[in-house]
C-alpha cells in the first residue's frame, strides 16, 4: 500500500504530466501502473523513481537528464559490480577510475555499478561526502560548479564523480585501457579481521551461553562484549569516513599533467 508521501509524489506527478499536456487516460494508466509497482515491491516512490521533476520530464520526453549515449551501453561496454568498505572504497575508485571505470550507481546491495566502454574509455576521479539525505541536494548543488556529479548514495554517504577530461582534456582518454579487474570485494585488513572475529563469536557464543546455564557472569560478560564490539564498530566507521570524505589533496595523476594552451 502506498504511503502518504507516495500519494503526494504521485499526485504531484500527475499534475506535472497534465501540465505537459499528456492525455488524461494516459496519466491514469501511468499512475495506476506506478501504484501497482509500489504496492508489489513495497519501496518508496522517490527512492524508486528519483526526483519528481526529472521523472516527470523523462515520462514526457521533456528536458531532464538526457541520456545522449542512447540510453544503453555501447556494444563493447563492460560492467563491473564490486563492494568495498569505507577504508578501501576511495583507493579502489581512484585506481579503477583512472582505468576508465565510470560508477553509474550503487545498487540495492550497496555494490558499486561501474561501466566502461572500451572503445571510448576516459579517466574519472571520485570523492565521497558524508551528508544526510535532506542535505544531499544542497551539497550536490554546491559541488556542481566544480564539475562533480552524484553517482550513488548509501544511507548517509554520497559518492561523486568527475571526468578527468575536465582538467586534462583529450589526455584523459584511454585508447587502450587495461583488462577489467577480477576482484569483486575490497576490504581493509582490519575489517577482514573484524568480520572473522564477529563470525567466530556468533558461532561460539550460543554454545558458551548454553553451557553457562544460569551463571550471570557469562551473560553479563557477553552483553558487555557485545556493547563494546558495537561501539568499536561505530567508532571505526566514523573514523574511516572522516579520513577520506570531502575534498582530498590531489593524488598522483598517473596521466599527463594539465597542459597549457595547446593551440
Amino acid at each position: 500500500m502506498t504511503t502518504g508521501t507516495d500519494d503526494r509524489y504521485l499526485t504531484e506527478l500527475a499534475e506535472l504530466l497534465r501540465a505537459e499536456r499528456m492525455p488524461e487516460d494516459r496519466i491514469e494508466a501511468v499512475v495506476g501502473e506506478l501504484i501497482d509497482h509500489l504496492d508489489a515491491t513495497g519501496v518508496r516512490a522517490e527512492d524508486e523513481f528519483g526526483p519528481l521533476a526529472e521523472f516527470a520530464a523523462s515520462l514526457t520526453g521533456g528536458p531532464g537528464v538526457v541520456p545522449t549515449d542512447g540510453g544503453g551501453p555501447a556494444e563493447d561496454a563492460e560492467e563491473w559490480r564490486w563492494v568495498a568498505d569505507y577504508d578501501s572504497d576511495l583507493a579502489v575508485l581512484d585506481r579503477y577510475g583512472r582505468q576508465g571505470w565510470e560508477v553509474r550507481e550503487l545498487d540495492r546491495l550497496g555494490r558499486f555499478v561501474a561501466r566502461r566502454d572500451r572503445g571510448a574509455a576516459m579517466a574519472w576521479e571520485y570523492r565521497r561526502e558524508v551528508v544526510s539525505r535532506r542535505r544531499r541536494e544542497e551539497r550536490t548543488a554546491l559541488l556542481a560548479p566544480e564539475g562533480w556529479e552524484p553517482c550513488g548514495s548509501w544511507r548517509f554517504v554520497t559518492y561523486y564523480k568527475r571526468p578527468l577530461a575536465a582538467s586534462l582534456g583529450p589526455d584523459a582518454a584511454l585508447p587502450d585501457p587495461p583488462a577489467g579487474p577480477r576482484d569483486r570485494t575490497f576490504l581493509s585488513r582490519g575489517n577482514r579481521i573484524g568480520m572473522v572475529v564477529g563470525a567466530v563469536s556468533l558461532v561460539v557464543l550460543p554454545f558458551l551461553l548454553w553451557f553457562a546455564g544460569d551463571d550471570p557472569g557469562v551473560w553479563i560478560g557477553g552483553a558487555v562484549g557485545g556493547v563494546i564490539g558495537g561501539v568499536a564498530a561505530v567508532v571505526g566507521v566514523r573514523r574511516s569516513l572522516r579520513r577520506g570524505s570531502g575534498e582530498r589533496p590531489a593524488t598522483e595523476p598517473e596521466l599527463s599533467p594539465p597542459g597549457s594552451d595547446p593551440a
Partner: protein, 129 residues
C-alpha cells in the same frame, strides 16, 4: 508490470536523445560564440535553454573531439581554490564550421518541419539522394 510505462518512457527519451546526439557538437560550438567558457557553464547553458542536463560523461568526449579536430582551443587555468578549470574557445576553423553546419541544420530543420506539417516540399541539397 511496468512494461508499457517503460516502453512509453523509453520511446520518448530515446528519440530526444537521438536528436541531441546528432547536434550536440554544434550546440557546444554555439555556446562558445560569445567567448570562452568551461564544461560546467556550457552544460548549464544547454540545460537553461531547455535541452536537459548533459552529463560530464557525454559533454567531455564531445569537447575532446572538437579540441582534437582543432575546432576549439583549450587552456587549463588553476584556481585559488578547487581543481582549476579547462577553458574552451572557438578557433577560426571552429567558427567556419559552426556557420556552415548551422546553415545545413537550418535547411534540414525547415525540410523536416514542412514534411511534418504536410506541406509540399522541394528537395534540398541536404536531403536529395
Amino acid at each position: 508490470m511496468l512494461t508499457s510505462l517503460w516502453f512509453y518512457l523509453g520511446m520518448a527519451t530515446d528519440r530526444r536523445a537521438s536528436w541531441l546526439k546528432g547536434v550536440l557538437d554544434l550546440l557546444v560550438l554555439g555556446c562558445l560564440t560569445d567567448g570562452e567558457s568551461y564544461g560546467y557553464e556550457i552544460a548549464r547553458r544547454l540545460d537553461g535553454a531547455g535541452l536537459g542536463q548533459i552529463r560530464g560523461g557525454t559533454l567531455y568526449p564531445v569537447l575532446n573531439r572538437l579540441e582534437t579536430a582543432g575546432l576549439v582551443a583549450a587552456e587549463y587555468r588553476a584556481a585559488e581554490r578547487g581543481p582549476g578549470r579547462r577553458y574552451y574557445r572557438l578557433t577560426p576553423e571552429g567558427e567556419r564550421q559552426l556557420a556552415e553546419q548551422t546553415a545545413a541544420w537550418d535547411e534540414f530543420h525547415a525540410t523536416t518541419r514542412a514534411v511534418l506539417a504536410g506541406a509540399p516540399t522541394t528537395a534540398t541539397k541536404g536531403t536529395r539522394e
